[in-house]
């Protein structure tokens, strides 16, 4: 290779590297901004939620279901042999710190992202008594596991921890 060709190739190559380097911030700017990330955790006060009740709140701008299970609902969930399920998980695995009565899940159907019914008073909880997604008929049980319908996964359990007996920090 002649020297003049080498310099031309080096110049073009260098320009190419520069162009790629410029693209990085142009893409990165679409990632969540600092103010969005700052709201990436939510505190929930549990003290007012009676057994059998659920509340809807938001976590990372999506619905979050916090449900106080009754003993009967816990028993129903435990009765099922997890290995027979589409997405095998026990209620134990889906709750935190042995507090099986506090079921915390995202309110986002794992099928196509609708908000399932069942957290609000008097809403249809589907044939397994948990949540029911009206979009395409996915039914979740009292541990919010998928039992029937097109959804492939159980309702997602976000990372959370108990900050006291009656409060959790999600995220």
């Amino acid at each position: 290779m002649r020297r003049r060709d080498f310099i031309n190739i080096a110049a073009v190559g260098f320009a190419g590297v520069g162009a790629v380097a410029v693209v990085v911030p142009l893409i990165d700017q679409m990632n969540p901004s600092a103010d969005v990330l700052a709201l990436a955790s939510t505190e929930v006060d549990l003290s007012a939620i009676q057994p059998g009740q659920a509340i809807k709140t938001t976590f990372r701008a999506q619905p979050l279901f916090v449900r106080h299970l009754t003993d009967k609902e816990i028993a129903e969930a435990d009765k099922v042999d997890a290995s027979t399920l589409r997405d095998p998980q026990t209620l134990e695995e889906r709750t935190v710190g042995g507090k099986k009565q506090w079921l915390v899940t995202m309110g986002v159907c794992t099928h196509l992202g609708c908000v399932p019914l069942g957290a609000g008073e008097g809403e249809n909880r589907g044939e397994y008594g948990g949540y029911f997604c009206p979009c395409h008929g996915s039914s979740y049980d009292t541990a919010a596991r998928i039992r029937k319908g097109p959804a492939p996964k159980n309702l997602e359990v976000p990372k959370f921890s108990f900050t006291s007996d009656t409060a959790i920090l999600v995220g």
């Binding site: 031309n8 911030p25 700017q29 901004s33 600092a34």
Partner: protein, 430 residues
């Protein structure tokens, strides 16, 4: 289009042949900015600014589209969404500063491009259409820049919008209805902000369209050159690629060094501190000035202080400001000298230098407060500006005796480099 000796696009790869048959876009590019466009071999660095202006437009569109992703066009949140972009969006400060300084650099290269054209007579036949389309681009740029400056909704944004739309209020009878119509209200407000945002987003693409026409019109006679002598044969030209792509690549590097220095180390130098104060309709800044690139025109606007019988001074100022740009549209017919390049026009050259100084003085006065002695200086400078284009230039072209022109482009190049016979000259083409 183009000279008979231009290289012809002949794709070798079957895929490129197939594309060329269905959509000859590569052929178009090849003939426009590739090896298929023969360009005079003696262009100097002033011929870089056209390409640089194109690059500046691309920078503005890319950073502008990104700014729009984070911007809220509403008078309640506009200022804070811009601040949010600067503080919280990843690389948001970079996008904002690049867009704000990019506007200034766009004007810098365009002004150099225009003065290049003025000195080397690029506006003369057969390139009048190139010049006229360039002026259309310039007007569109000014409108775009003005509306863009309103968007951050700072004090200068607000009061700039108020003052500039107020210019239309100077027109008798229909002036005030026009001003209200432009603003969508009686003062700049949410309606104005939204329409300015919409148009500020649209106009750059219109500019891009007119640029295509500008380049198209250029390719019919081909590029002008520093001697102003027309191309006579293949020995006078080189293919655009690789000769001028290489030169433009170097020019682009120098441009980006200047741009990056400003952007990263003095991003607010060309801005005005008052625009970091949120718009307040109840308090006017002590000293309203537009962005620097409007200063010469702003000085002309303010230079009219005396009513002309029944015509108020304000209206005269507005008319003169528009006239100062519109007169450039008549330039190809005002300057009738057959010699293009200022290098061979001794009298023209002197007056051209006076014009440069004059515009610089106008710019300085436009940025200064509306006080004496700045107003008096701008009156003299503005008077010269009009006299230069409308009186002096036609007279010079009638009476001036030009210097002898070189016989051809090649002859002028040889006169410069002929002595370097046999060895590789290390001097760039000037």
């Amino acid at each position: 289009m183009s000279f008979p000796w231009a290289e012809h696009y002949a794709p070798k790869h079957p895929l490129m042949q197939w594309v060329d048959e269905k959509l000859p876009l590569p052929r178009l590019v090849y003939n426009a900015i590739g090896a298929g466009y023969p360009v005079p071999r003696n262009l100097n660095y002033f011929w870089n600014f056209g390409v640089l202006a194109g690059v500046a437009l691309v920078i503005q569109i890319v950073t502008g589209v990104i700014m729009a992703m984070h911007y809220g066009a509403n008078d309640l949140v506009a200022f804070s969404t811009v601040e949010q972009t600067m503080r919280d969006v990843n690389a948001g400060w970079l996008m904002r500063y690049a867009h704000a300084n990019g506007a200034s650099f766009f004007f810098i290269v365009v002004y150099l491009h225009i003065f290049r054209g003025l000195f080397f007579g690029s506006y003369k036949a057969p390139r009048e259409m190139v010049w006229l389309l360039g002026l259309v681009i310039f007007l569109l740029m000014m409108a775009t820049a003005f509306m863009g400056y309103v968007l951050p909704w700072g004090q200068m944004s607000y009061w700039g919008a108020k003052v500039i739309t107020g210019l239309f209020g100077a027109i008798p009878v229909v002036g005030e209805p026009i001003q209200t119509w432009l603003l969508g209200g009686f003062a700049p407000g949410n309606a104005s902000l939204n329409r300015f945002f919409s148009l500020h987003f649209l106009l750059p693409f219109v500019i891009a369209g007119v640029i295509i026409l500008h380049i198209w019109a250029l390719h019919i006679p081909g590029s002008s050159n520093p001697t102003g002598v027309e191309v006579q044969g293949p020995q006078d030209t080189v293919p655009f690629h690789p000769y001028y792509t290489a030169k433009d690549g170097f020019g682009l590097g120098v441009f980006l060094i200047c741009f990056a220095t400003m952007l990263f180390f003095a991003p607010n130098f060309l801005g005005h501190p008052d625009n970091y104060i949120e718009a307040n309709p109840l308090s006017t800044p002590a000293h309203i000035v537009p962005e620097w690139y409007f200063w010469p025109f702003y000085a002309i606007l303010r230079a009219f202080t005396v009513d002309f019988f029944f015509v108020p001074a304000k209206l005269l100022g507005v008319l003169a400001m528009f006239a100062s740009i519109l007169l450039l549209f008549f330039l190809p017919w005002l300057d009738t000298s057959p010699v293009r390049s200022g290098h061979y026009r001794p009298v023209f050259k002197k007056f051209f230098i006076i014009l440069l100084i004059d515009v610089a003085i106008l710019g300085y006065c436009g940025g200064a407060p509306a006080e004496e002695p700045y107003v008096m200086i701008s009156q003299i400078a503005a008077a010269y500006y009009f006299a230069h284009f409308l009186i002096v230039l036609p007279l010079i072209s009638r009476f001036e005796k030009p210097l002898p022109l070189p016989g051809s482009i090649t002859e002028s190049v040889l006169a410069k480099y002929g002595k370097a016979d046999g060895e590789i000259a290390a001097v760039p083409a000037e």
